[in-house]
Symmetry: C2
Amino acid sequence: MRILIIDDNKAVRLSLKMVLGSEFDSILTIGDPKLLPALLANGDFDAVLLDMNFDTSRLDGSDGLFWLERIKSMPQAPAVVLITAFGDIQLAVEAMKRGGDDFVTKPWDNIELIAKVKSAIRKNRLARSVQAVLSQAKDTKARQDKLDAMTLDELKADHINSVVARCNGNLTQAAKLLGINRQTLYNQLKK
Amino acid sequence: MRILIIDDNKAVRLSLKMVLGSEFDSILTIGDPKLLPALLANGDFDAVLLDMNFDTSRLDGSDGLFWLERIKSMPQAPAVVLITAFGDIQLAVEAMKRGGDDFVTKPWDNIELIAKVKSAIRKNRLARSVQAVLSQAKDTKARQDKLDAMTLDELKADHINSVVARCNGNLTQAAKLLGINRQTLYNQLKK
DNA sequence: GAACGATTGTCTAAATTTTAGACGATTTCA
DNA sequence: TGAAATCGTCTAAAATTTAGACAATCGTTC
């Protein structure tokens, strides 16, 4: 399980890395959230630990909420556990509303932190798989719709391509599978 | 939300019905679990309250476990909240392992019971929808596989049928959509 | 590297299918 | 009811598919 930690305080980053290091496969810490989109683009991370107050000039956490939404709008979004200053309940609640999976307050309890991250990952996995299946279903639906509107020749060409590909280009075999003459297959491929 | 209650004790059934009646749309109580498959076949119920000790001659709860598995193996299984005798922790744990969503011990706390049933239903809904989507995805996958293996003529016939159906049998229009001559469409339909 | 079977690309000529067009009969819809 | 669209059927030409044959090439096995 891979974790990504974002906090502008180097000491906090190190501390978090120490605590979580023993429990997770790999941990990456960064100080600048601008790197987030690039790092998460591949869906490599299972969870993100996001500090809501990383910009000391803006204490309302709006930056944190902004990045939270950016993360959660991604196709294969990781679990997000938010780190808020002690007592900042309103911000925490708002963050949960906007898709955060859990939050911990500074200073944190190490055991609780690990448990929350793990639990958030578990919870998020189901949502991810649902999303994956849904998007897949949507794709096949779209393909079906497209298929319905196809001309007979287009459909033929499509199917021929797929069968030829599945035969690794063996045209003799493909023709046999398609139930047509080899010569006919040549004719079709010429178009 | 519809609830099904199974308990061999008539007084218990009445009592449960009273407690839950105010919170759920409709409640059906039965004393004999043999009716379960028929009642659940349509997927009408959101939750089942199942007494593990309804057969007084067998106190090990094996009958309850049996019916729990029957219920949970159904395609659109409802949430199952189990009722166990006080202190029968081992049985409760075993039941949870086998797919039970929650359990209450006799005597029960009314508020807690309602909360557990509601929570179990919520939890189960997600699982149900996941299952539904998964089975749908499986279907479309199977259809795709079948499609891949089709002969060109079979594929043609399939597509022609679907287009003709979509044109409500208007062959002139269907032929135009398919990009073939009307006469050719007649030929194809003859086979 | 020789030998073998399978595949390829190309050709021919016959068989089959598709096509455009036409025709009166029937259906649809305003 | 009346015009437009569709149907079912036909013809003859055009296009496609088919089986079969051939030498060349490829991959495997010995």
